[in-house]
């Protein structure tokens, strides 16, 4: 991983921390950059629901089986351990580690052999975890894990939108907002899948493209799609080039 590549990503993420901030899109971009920078196969971001479980809020791919694998970690798995201990969790070969039987089996079905989780920390509080998978049973080198932790810290900052975090009320409000935003996006995916005859993961791409092209926040657009206030037209068919 070149230093300039790393610097570019941090500049890109810092640039998004401005007034028209779209937190869900930011977290989605961050998970995609994790995949590129850390050389992993997939990345997912889970947040506490402030009751007792973790919820997926963003992932590098909207493939349903991948989302389910992340979400399986509601009460068992590397993210849960990471969240509870506040320490990174790394398992370079799930099959031989013998931890989390249900999760290991599900990961194997999707083709993942190794997993890592780093905590999202706000001072002494852990608010979630950033989760990476790889298809190869190899360790991730320590330097890359350090970058992973830095990206988790950036995600935390982005989530709190550099507001004064003196009061935990703001944290609670932001976490609740992020989780409901994710639900809005899932509902919008369903609407678009039905209206446009798409698979749900394709629907996310359509939603996101429209949001960017029309300069709207993903979660606001998602709600408008579900209430019917906005009708997104079918994507134009790709024009062959050359």
């Amino acid at each position: 991983m070149a230093e300039t590549q790393l610097a570019d990503v941090f500049v890109e993420l810092a640039d998004t921390l401005v007034d028209e901030f779209d937190v869900i899109d930011f977290l989605h971009v961050l998970t995609q950059r994790c995949v590129e920078l850390l050389g992993v196969s997939a990345a997912g971001l889970l947040l506490t629901d402030q009751q007792d479980t973790l919820q997926v809020v963003a992932a590098s791919s909207e493939r349903t089986r991948l989302l389910e694998l992340f979400q399986l970690q509601t009460d068992q798995g590397p993210c849960v351990d990471c969240f509870r201990t506040g320490q990174p969790v790394s398992v370079s070969d799930l099959a031989s580690a013998g931890r989390w039987p249900r999760f290991t089996e599900a990961a194997a079905e999707v083709g993942f052999a190794s997993v890592h989780a780093v905590p999202m920390r706000l001072r002494t509080e852990i608010i979630g975890a950033l989760n990476f998978f790889h298809t190869d049973p190899v360790p991730v080198d320590p330097e890359r894990l350090r970058v992973g932790q830095a990206l988790a810290d950036v995600a935390t900052i982005g989530l709190l939108q550099h507001r004064a975090i003196r009061r935990r009320e703001i944290l609670a409000e932001q976490l609740g907002t992020a989780l409901n935003s994710r639900i809005l996006i899932e509902q919008a995916k369903g609407v678009l899948a039905e209206r446009l005859g798409l698979a749900v993961d394709e629907a996310f791409t359509v939603l996101r493209s429209y949001a960017r092209n029309h300069n709207r926040r993903l979660s606001d657009l998602a709600e408008a799609v579900v209430t019917g206030a906005v009708h997104i037209p079918p994507p134009a068919p790709a024009v062959p080039t050359g």
């Binding site: 349903t64 609670a172 899932e186 039905e194 709600e223």
Partner: protein
């Protein structure tokens, strides 16, 4: 899971054998969350908001005041997370709600916690909790409040379906959490049935209950297009060849 078991047991105890209602959930809130007043407002689609439960006259008055003034933390639930106000007497509160805040303080209310009852775009209602002494909620109290808000939402959804007298309510399955396909199915149903997200959610739950199936399994069938709900609730076609 322990939290919900504990809270649900408490609610059933307040119900004392009759079908439990939102009043019983509010009683549990008063007992566990460290608040002394509670109210539940129903939104459900285009109907004007209606307070369906208030613990005492002061609560009724504050609810009416919010509507009359068009001002206050509980006015319109943001399509987001909770609104947690630890002290209505601070300068910040007085700036945000210049008429409501002093009136609330005069009425003996200093802290107010507004928990929207919503599942993405399905806006069901609001749970308002009040306290006479200033201060925020401790993490455990917030967790209990959020769990109770979800249970209130479930009761509102069950709505016109009271259990037989003497029978405890069935265990409230978490609707807002976890399974992406539940929310995707809701999105699809809004289009298939031409209804709002709230009604789509009600129909999906009604089908699951009528067929004694888990919500997530029914949702999975809808998303995979193995199941199409018919216009009347409780029925559907399974996509098999005639």
């Amino acid at each position: 899971m322990d939290r919900r078991v504990r809270l649900w047991s408490q609610i059933l105890a307040y119900g004392n054998g009759r079908p439990v209602g939102v009043g019983d959930v509010c009683a549990a809130a008063l007992a566990t969350v460290g608040v002394d007043r509670a109210a539940v407002t129903v939104l459900l689609d285009a109907t004007p908001r209606e307070t369906v439960y208030a613990s005492d006259q002061v609560t009724v008055d504050l609810q009416e005041l919010t509507l009359t003034l068009g001002e206050g933390p509980g006015l319109a639930p943001p399509a987001t997370g909770p609104v947690l106000v630890s002290d209505l007497a601070t300068p910040e509160s007085l700036v945000r709600w210049p008429v409501f805040a002093p009136a609330a303080v005069r009425a003996g209310v200093r802290a107010m916690f507004v928990l929207p009852l919503l599942v993405g775009a399905a806006r069901l209602g609001v749970l308002d909790l009040y306290r006479g002494t200033p201060g925020g909620l401790r993490p455990e109290q917030l967790a209990d409040a959020l769990a109770l808000a979800e249970m209130t939402a479930t009761l509102l959804l069950d709505g016109a379906d009271p259990a037989a007298p003497g029978a405890p309510r069935r265990w409230p399955e978490r609707t807002a959490a976890q399974h992406p396909e539940v929310h995707q199915a809701i999105g699809m149903l809004t289009v298939q049935l031409g209804v709002s997200a709230a009604v789509a959610l009600i129909r999906l739950r009604a089908y699951a209950y009528a067929h004694d199936r888990r919500l997530r399994d029914v949702a999975g069938d809808v998303v995979a297009r193995r199941l199409r709900l018919a216009a009347e609730s409780g029925t559907g076609t399974d996509g098999a060849a005639p």
